[in-house]
Symmetry: C2
Subunit: 253 residues, 2 copies
DNA sequence: CGTGAAGTTGAGTATGCTCAACGGTGGTGG
DNA sequence: CCACCACCGTTGAGCATACTCAACTTCACG
């Protein structure tokens, strides 16, 4: 894994983060459609102008890296659209995707000023970037935001523990059932329809997230499809026919 | 899993949390030997008296439950001595231990007022108990503590991600190597010798933590022993002979 | 259409699980 | 004091789930 500073990514050319269009730049925070989900939720409208001053917008294409494990953690991010994956690697290249992030999700919290994982775009995605030091000043002034951040971190922690249960103790079928239900729930949380479920990531990413190979993911999809529990539509849409059975699988009965 | 209120545990008789001896009660926080590791770290000496007022001490025997998943989260805890395990269960009883906690470690942060996991003593253990509502008042007054809590949560998050990598992508040998090195590092962090490593939990707990069966844990210990990398001493002590090889296993080379 | 990447399916295999037996140890009660 | 018992850890044999390697299909995109 190369370790390079986020500020030079554009120059390297592997990624092409670019400033978002002028529309968004005019009053990005005021126009933010996912504010209630982000770290900005506790701020009053008139306080957003301060946010505007320290935030910058960012756009990524599929496969573009956002940052790499080990890199100095100079910024934190809020996803405003699209999907991001975060992952860790072993020495021989084995990969564990520790999470998929969608609009409203937060990433980049680093304990010791070094990112503990890498982040990369799954789909075309837009993000808000907060310079770490400037954000810290703001947090000092608005303890509400710090509280919000703690709430988000402790939610992340609960999600991580659920994922450990999945990785350590569930079968392939149970893993995939849990995964689909999770995606569905997160869509609903964002006010979208929870069925059919949009599955924007490929089989390799799903496998690396669930601790499986692509082949096993594919076979398990087939198995669920042939049981009539789901169907696979075009454009990565999965239609859930029997949510109850899926729930039973997910909970290990 | 039964869900009962922590306050009634004593009456039920499954557990026997009891107030610690009068020595500790006199000025528990002032005498705390692990304060620098806890949420109390940022408090000045003269502020500890406030802490004293909202904290109570607690003692558990091996196997005693502290709280159960799903229970209302009325308190958070700091371990002051001994070892605690936290775990989640599937419907059919499969178990995933999501962490082992030692002196200085913190548990009980709950996002939605409900514990997301169960906690139980591994060895004889002592803990500080903070009533949630009272702690919140204190956090309001000391943003430093809130910041500290955020730091601890984000550290936990990094640890959780490392564990996901282990569960999803490491072999049995790599899992056990990582586990032993982790225990060793945590001993060193607490100012103790990192070798030999005290391993107070049994094979079942280790298996449930690493996503393995007891038999596989046992076989893998034997394998590492026969390779001369470790030896198993009395009293659950593991002596590490070749840390470098263990590190290589743990990092997946 | 042609090409390359992604997904699916098949055959054989290996890692770790299941089931079972056995040995050591510590606690208990006769 | 010692026999007994329960629990824990270890080891063995056989097995199953998911992996590896490979071929083939589908799809997106030029």
């Amino acid at each position: 894994m190369s370790t390079f500073d986020i500020k030079t990514i554009g120059a390297i050319g592997a990624a092409r983060p670019r400033p978002a269009g002028s529309d968004a730049d005019a009053s990005p925070c005021g126009a933010c459609t996912v504010r209630h989900l982000t770290i900005c939720a506790p701020l009053e409208d008139h306080e957003l102008s301060e946010m505007n001053r320290i935030v910058s917008s960012l756009e990524l294409d599929p496969g573009d890296p956002l940052f790499d494990e080990g890199e100095p953690a100079n910024a934190v991010y809020n996803v405003t659209a699209g999907a991001i994956k975060v992952y860790k690697l072993l020495g021989d290249g084995r990969r564990q995707v520790t999470g998929f992030l969608f609009a409203g999700d937060f990433l980049g919290l680093a304990n010791d000023d070094i990112y503990a994982y890498s982040a990369e775009a799954v789909t075309h995605a837009t993000l808000c970037r907060f310079q770490r030091r400037k954000l810290e000043v703001l947090l000092e002034r608005y303890p509400r935001m710090e509280k919000r951040l703690l709430g988000m971190a402790s939610h992340e922690l609960a999600v991580a523990q659920e994922q450990m249960l999945l990785l350590g103790r569930k079968t392939a079928k149970e893993k995939l059932a849990s995964f689909l239900l999770n995606l569905s729930k997160r869509l609903v949380q964002r006010g979208q329809k929870g069925n059919p479920v949009s599955v924007p990531m490929n089989r390799t990413d799903i496998g690396d997230y669930l601790g499986l190979t692509t082949e096993t993911v594919s076979r398990t999809f087939t198995q669920l499809r042939q049981s009539g529990i789901i169907s696979l539509n075009n454009g990565g849409k999965v239609e859930i026919h029997d949510r109850d059975v899926l729930e039973e699988f997910a909970q290990g009965f």
